[in-house]
Symmetry: C2
DNA sequence: GGGTGAGTATACAGATCGGTCTACTATGGG
DNA sequence: CCCATAGTAGACCGATCTGTATACTCACCC
């Protein structure tokens, strides 16, 4: 929503706006423990399947502390997703910065996703999973979810631009498709090494689109 | 799991095994009303977010009828997914049968998905969404979900075989990636006409893989 | 030294959850 | 006629849900 053009900034440096309209919560030690436990439980079991009592117990914190910090479960969900998003962007940017050519930077996104998923995401993309549970667009977490995907699409488009200025939008969308497909196939275990396969297909796609790269 | 080769059968005629180990429920009028209401509510709001009282009320049926037919909410979930799967396969087979060339049959899958989604799936693939909510592989619905995706992957592989016998497995996986990516991008509204775009990319992929088609 | 902020411990409220129960009705087939 | 089947109506169960309340401790800081 709103104008999604975030200045002209190089895509590697725009780790802001992940919290968008949802002001973050002061991260006291208790709040941090809650967020860590909630993040783990939400991801492993699903958001609706995890109650605040369980979160508080797993965090080693009382419910009062939990509600003093977050006010409501919905806000914990927002912080969970915004935090995941923030850490993913930082992780990704590190991969992007150590690549130079436009081509290798595109592939670096898939490398980052593959490594990120293999080290901590056996159940696939948190945003896709959360979107399946949060149907109401008015939910405060909805903007975080769609914001992350919009950011990724814009990133792919920006990365494609140096390679094919006229077809950047189109190429960006194709890369996005492969990337999302890889995440889902990986998360559902449809076949092994799905993200790596998506990377290969992206490589072929880029090669075909810009034979002079 | 197990040997996933289900005979040599032509992919267009294998609408069985959708209910696998989960024996279906006798479809009395009351059961049908429950399934209709549950299907709509589960898809629109998510499985965990919908209670049995609401399902019974929306179906215009008492809770006793609901439990007499299905026994447990989990079983309603199984029937919901198995029913969706069954109807999708029938829908898809109709598209496949009116296409002749291997190439157009591959594209027909994307055509079917596009039309199927546009007419009734604003929130994307039911199986992907259900997988996000059902974390436990021991859940009776889990097999239906993974079974459907395995069937789709096998279908793509079978459709790719006449075009590229040696690379059928590889090409099938690439097509699967694009297809899943299209479904997710469509369901999350990442960009417009995502499935149609996936179809175009699939077309390009097939053309590149088999220039002599 | 008094106040503020962050925390523990625990009880409680009201709603909703999945699921069971009894009592009754209507229908259709041997 | 009779009995099984499929249904309505509605009370009820224990558990769990999100969220609030009271009372107290501890650390820090002006």
């Amino acid at each position: 929503m709103s104008e999604h053009g975030q200045r002209r900034s190089d895509a590697t440096r725009a780790p802001d706006n992940s919290g968008q309209g949802s002001r973050r919560v002061p991260m006291t030690p208790g709040a941090r423990k809650v967020l860590e436990a909630a993040g783990r439980l939400f991801y492993e079991r699903g958001i609706h399947a995890v109650g605040v009592d369980l979160i508080a117990a797993e965090a080693g914190v009382t419910k009062k502390t939990l509600y003093d910090r977050f006010g409501a479960k919905d806000q914990i969900v927002v912080e969970y997703l915004a935090d995941r998003d923030e850490r993913w962007r930082a992780f990704l940017v590190a991969y992007l910065e150590r690549s130079r050519s436009p081509r290798s930077r595109i592939l670096a996104v898939f490398d980052a996703s593959r490594d990120w998923a293999e080290q901590s995401l056996p159940r696939g993309c948190s945003m896709i999973n959360a979107h399946a549970e949060i149907a109401d667009p008015a939910h405060p977490a909805y903007a975080v979810i769609t914001g992350q995907k919009a950011w990724m699409l814009e990133l792919f488009t920006d990365l494609a631009r140096p390679l094919a200025p006229r077809r950047a939008k189109s190429l960006g969308r194709s890369l996005m498709l492969l990337h999302e497909g890889g995440l889902v196939a990986y998360g559902m275990g449809i076949f092994p090494d799905a993200i790596e396969r998506a990377r290969q297909d992206a490589q072929a796609l880029v090669r075909a689109a810009v034979p002079s790269g």
